[in-house]
C-alpha cells in the first residue's frame, strides 16, 4: 500500500447547527502524486485540506472517519504525536501571499522559524537551508531577499517565497490551497510550473485545492470533485476530461470556459442536475443518521 495520505469516511459537522459539512469523504494520495480537490465555493474542498493539517475552524467538528498519514490515524493520535506528524511531514502553500506573510517581519526568519521551532534545527543550518531553497525557486540574491519585508516584493515573488518555505523542511505532503487564484494568468503559469517542478524533484505529494478545472488539467494526476462536502467523483485526470462520469461533474466541466474554441456555448449547471445531486445527498444523510 503506497498511499501517503488516506482519508476514510471523513464526516464533519458544524458544532452549533449540526449541519454536515463533510459527508463520508474518502480519498487517497499516493507518495509523490498530485491530487486535485475541485468544487464550487462552499463545496468543502479547503475544509478537507484544513482537516489534514489539523487546523479546522473551531466551529467545525469531525464526527467520524480516519485521516491516515503513513498509515497512522491523525485523529486517534495523542495531540503531541499529531503535532509532530503534521509538523514534520506536511506543509501548506496558502492562497493569499500577502496575508500569509507577516508584514512587520523580514522574509528570512519567517522561513527559518519553522525549521528551528518545529524541527529543532540550529539557527545557522536553518538560514543556510532557507537561502538554498530560495535559490531553488529562482529568487535572485536569496541572502538579500531574506533581509527584505514582504511589501518590498511583488505578488509573484511572495508566492515563490511561500512555495520555498513549504518545501524547506522536505515535507512528504503539501496542501496547496488555491495557490494561484490571486495572481495574473501569466504569473499563474510560472508559479504552477514551479510547483510542478519542485513537486517532481522532491517527490512530494500534493493535495491541490482549486475551483479551476483548467488548472487541474495542467498539474494534477487525479482529482476528487466535491459538491456540498461529498465526493461525487474520484478519478484520474485523463479519464475525467475524456468522459466525466457523474452528471454534476460533467455539468461543471461544461460550464468552464475554453478560450480555444469559439463556437461552444457555456451552460450553467442545470437545475435538474443540482436537484438530483441534492437528492443523492439527502438520501446519503438519511442513511448516515440511521447508522449513527
Amino acid at each position: 500500500m503506497s498511499a501517503f495520505l488516506e482519508i476514510r469516511n471523513l464526516s464533519a459537522r458544524l458544532r452549533d447547527t449540526g449541519e454536515r459539512v463533510l459527508r463520508s469523504v474518502s480519498l487517497e494520495v499516493p507518495v509523490g502524486a498530485v491530487q486535485g480537490l475541485v468544487g464550487e465555493s462552499g463545496a468543502g474542498k479547503s475544509m478537507i485540506g484544513r482537516a489534514v493539517l489539523g487546523v479546522l475552524p473551531k466551529a467545525v467538528e469531525i464526527v467520524e472517519g480516519e485521516i491516515l498519514l503513513e498509515g497512522r490515524d491523525l485523529l486517534k493520535a495523542k495531540p503531541s504525536e499529531r503535532r509532530r506528524l503534521i509538523g514534520t511531514r506536511t506543509a501548506l502553500i496558502p492562497q493569499d501571499p500577502l496575508t500569509a506573510l507577516n508584514p512587520s517581519r523580514r522574509i528570512g526568519p519567517q522561513i527559518t522559524d519553522r525549521l528551528v521551532d518545529i524541527l529543532g534545527w540550529e539557527k545557522a543550518r536553518a538560514t543556510a537551508r532557507a537561502a538554498e531553497i530560495l535559490a531553488e525557486v529562482d529568487i535572485p540574491q536569496p541572502e538579500r531577499v531574506m533581509r527584505l519585508y514582504p511589501h518590498e516584493l511583488s505578488g509573484g515573488m511572495r508566492q515563490r517565497i511561500l512555495i520555498a518555505s513549504a518545501f524547506a523542511a522536505e515535507p512528504k505532503l503539501i496542501v496547496a490551497d488555491e495557490p494561484t487564484t490571486a495572481l495574473d494568468v501569466t504569473v499563474q503559469k510560472q508559479i504552477l510550473h514551479l510547483i510542478s517542478q519542485m513537486q517532481a524533484r522532491h517527490g512530494t505529494a500534493l493535495l491541490f485545492v482549486t475551483h479551476d478545472l483548467g488548472v487541474v488539467a495542467k498539474i494534477c494526476d487525479s482529482l476528487s470533485v466535491l459538491y456540498a462536502g461529498k465526493v461525487v467523483e474520484e478519478t484520474t485526470v485523463q479519464k475525467f476530461f475524456a468522459a466525466p462520469q457523474h452528471p454534476y461533474s460533467a455539468a461543471l466541466l461544461a460550464a468552464t470556459p475554453r478560450h480555444t474554441d469559439a463556437g461552444a456555448s457555456l451552460e450553467p449547471v442545470p437545475r435538474a442536475v443540482l436537484d438530483a445531486v441534492s437528492a443523492e445527498i439527502a438520501a446519503d444523510d438519511a442513511s448516515w443518521r440511521r447508522h449513527g
Binding site: V185, Q188, G214, F241, L252, T256, P257, S265, P268
Partner: protein, 263 residues
C-alpha cells in the same frame, strides 16, 4: 460606418507620484494611461483585457468620467465630456451605467433589493419598472423584499445588472463582474448579459483579466499593457492570430480544461 457611441482620442491619465515628491514643489507625474485612442460603436461589446496594473480599470473609470483625464478627449454620443463638471455630467449619468466587481460591497446591505434597484430611478420598490428589471435578469419579482446577504453571489451580481439596466442606459461598463463567481454562476451571468445586449441594444465595455470569458461575449478586444493599448482587434482575429507578443503570452498562459494540450 456605424456611428460611434464613444470616441476616445489620445486619452491620458496621470497622478502625482508622491513617493518621489521633493520637499518643495510639485511631485513628478506618474502616467497611468499613455495616450489611448479607440471607438466603441453603438450596440457592440468591447472587451478590455490586461494584467493587474495595466490600467484597464483606470481606463473604465475615465470612460464613465469617475476620474478626470489629464489629456486627450472623450466624446460620448457626439458630445465632448472630457472636462464636463459633475453638474454638467449629471444628465448623462442615467445613460452611462456601471456594474461592479464585488456585488457584496457595491450593494447596500441595509436596503432591500427593490430599493437598491429602484433607488436611482427615484422609484418605490413596488414600481413596475423594478420588477421588470428583475424579470429581465431572470429573478422572481418576489426578490424585491430580500436583502443582499440572503442571495448567492450569482444572484447578487444579477441585482447589479438589474440596477444598471433599470435606468435604460445607452452604455454599461462592467468591471471584472464575473471574476469572483463560480463557473456555473459565471456562465449564467455571461449568458444573461449576452441576451440583454441583443434584446436591449446595449453598448457594453467589459473589463476582464480572463481572455476565455472575453471570447464568449465580446466582438472586439483591446489588450492593455503598462497603460498602453498593445493590440486592438476583432475577437476572432485576436484569438486566431494574436499579433502582439504580450497577447500571445496572455493566451498561452490560460490553463485550458484539456490535459492533452501542452502548456
Amino acid at each position: 460606418m456605424v456611428e460611434a457611441l464613444f470616441r476616445i482620442e489620445d486619452l491620458r491619465v496621470d497622478v502625482p507620484d508622491m513617493t518621489r515628491k521633493p520637499l518643495f514643489g510639485a511631485a513628478p507625474r506618474l502616467e497611468i494611461l499613455k495616450g489611448l485612442s479607440f471607438d466603441i460603436p453603438r450596440g457592440t461589446v468591447l472587451g478590455i483585457v490586461g494584467g493587474s496594473g495595466s490600467g484597464k480599470t483606470t481606463l473604465g473609470r475615465a470612460l464613465v468620467r469617475l476620474i478626470k483625464p489629464s489629456g486627450g478627449a472623450i466624446a460620448f454620443d457626439g458630445k465632448d465630456i472630457t472636462h464636463l463638471s459633475d453638474e454638467a455630467m449629471r444628465p448623462l449619468r442615467r445613460r452611462i451605467q456601471m456594474i461592479f466587481q464585488d456585488p457584496m460591497s457595491s450593494l447596500n446591505p441595509r436596503l432591500t433589493v427593490g430599493r437598491i434597484v429602484g433607488a436611482a430611478l427615484g422609484l418605490r420598490s413596488g414600481d413596475r419598472r423594478v420588477s421588470e428589471a428583475l424579470e429581465q435578469v431572470g429573478l422572481p419579482a418576489a426578490f424585491v423584499r430580500r436583502y443582499p446577504h440572503e442571495l448567492s453571489g450569482g444572484q447578487r451580481q444579477r441585482i447589479g445588472i438589474a440596477r444598471a439596466i433599470a435606468m435604460r442606459p445607452d452604455f454599461i461598463l462592467a468591471d471584472e463582474i464575473v471574476s469572483g463567481l463560480d463557473v456555473s454562476s459565471q456562465a449564467q451571468v455571461l449568458n444573461l448579459l449576452q441576451g440583454l445586449v441583443k434584446e436591449l441594444g446595449l453598448t457594453l465595455a467589459f473589463i476582464s483579466h480572463d481572455l476565455s470569458v472575453i471570447r464568449r461575449l465580446c466582438g472586439r478586444v483591446i489588450v492593455m499593457q503598462a497603460g498602453a493599448i498593445v493590440e486592438d482587434a476583432p475577437t476572432e482575429a485576436l484569438f486566431e492570430k494574436p499579433a502582439h507578443p504580450y497577447t500571445r503570452e496572455l493566451l498561452d498562459a490560460i490553463p485550458s480544461p484539456d490535459p492533452s494540450i501542452r502548456w
